[in-house]
């Protein structure tokens, strides 16, 4: 694998990974807040 491919791959992988992390955290927190709201209103 050439250096250029490695460079592109690492950059894209890290950004994709971090993006997925952010997206996952947000979804989890939104669900948490939604369920908290539901539980507060029986």
């Amino acid at each position: 694998m050439s250096y250029i491919d490695a460079g592109y791959a690492i950059a894209l992988a890290v950004l994709a990974g971090y993006g997925a992390l952010l997206w996952g955290r947000r979804r989890r927190l939104e669900r948490l807040m939604a369920s908290a709201e539901e539980q507060a209103e029986p």
Partner: protein, 287 residues
């Protein structure tokens, strides 16, 4: 007492009023302050931002890796110019600039608002990822060009120092404390770092050019750009800026949610404490 009060993201949640000791509350459910859901318009904007980011990045990669011609001097290695400089620009000017300006706006009493603190923190965190990537792509570009994984050239050295400054901000952010005190400390750190960055740039630059054995290290990493390469480079800048913008928006939302969850926990704990006095049924399950 049984209804939840939605709070807007920019104002901190206020704790529930204590139940009067004389009479138990009619319904013992805790008043959990809820963070207002992201407006449909904001969600749409961010979603389109994400789509645009992905599309432009894919286009940049396609153009950069296959369509554009190799350089006369650097041959195929020049293709990293579509990735490394844009990421560097985002990390230094965009991320760090936003963090610095936001910190100043937070410190200035007239414009102080939790929005700026959250924006600064989000920008620093996303910026740290980009800065680390700048170093990695720069190192990868340098290896076949100079033969070493790391050369103390002006740009890499400045970026390395910037990374440490950003990590310092994140460390201060992690110190537990009241939100306002934490925001204050972080804003000062950002300001001290912001003032330092140009000084570091100049000093490291002179460190090289005034050194008697100055090599042409810098020259090799700056190829001449023309034609299709220029357009691809521009696209690269746009693409990574969009990626940063999307990440910033999502990170900001996470910050808002985390603060809301924290406030909810505090509110719940407060309610449980106050409810200890009377023998009404226990509050609802903790979220």
């Amino acid at each position: 007492m049984s209804t939840t009060t939605p709070t807007t993201p920019t104002t901190p949640a206020t704790p529930a009023a204590p139940a009067p000791a004389a009479e138990p509350p009619p319904t013992p459910s805790p008043r959990v302050p809820v963070v207002a859901p992201w407006s449909a318009r904001s969600q749409r904007v961010v979603r389109w931002l994400g789509v645009a980011a992905v599309v432009s990045v894919v286009a940049t990669v396609w153009l950069g890796l296959w369509v554009t011609p190799p350089d006369a001097v650097q041959h195929d290695l020049v293709r990293l110019v579509y990735v490394h400089p844009p990421i560097a620009w985002v990390s230094l000017y965009l991320a760090f600039g936003i963090a610095a300006v936001s910190s100043v706006l937070w410190l200035w009493p007239r414009t102080r608002s939790p929005f700026w603190d959250r924006l600064a923190a989000s920008s620093v965190e996303v910026g740290t990822v980009f800065t680390a990537l700048t170093l990695v792509t720069g190192s990868i570009w340098g290896r076949p060009t100079w033969g070493v994984w790391w050369a103390w050239d002006a740009r890499l050295t400045s970026t390395a120092l910037l990374l440490v400054l950003l990590l310092g901000y994140l460390a201060v952010r992690r110190v537990a404390g009241a939100p306002e005190a934490r925001a204050r400390r972080c804003a000062v750190v950002a300001l001290v770092a912001a003032v330092d960055v140009p000084i570091v740039h100049f000093s490291v630059d002179w460190w090289h050019t005034l050194h008697q054995n100055a090599t042409v290290l810098n020259a090799n990493l700056s190829p001449t750009i023309h034609g299709a390469m220029a357009w691809t480079l521009l696209l690269g800048f746009v693409a990574f800026t969009l990626v940063f913008a999307w990440m910033l928006a999502v990170r900001y939302r996470i910050e808002v949610l985390v603060e809301g969850a924290l406030a909810a926990e505090i509110d719940l704990a407060l309610h449980e404490r106050w409810a200890e006095g009377d023998d009404s049924p226990p509050p609802a399950v903790r979220p």
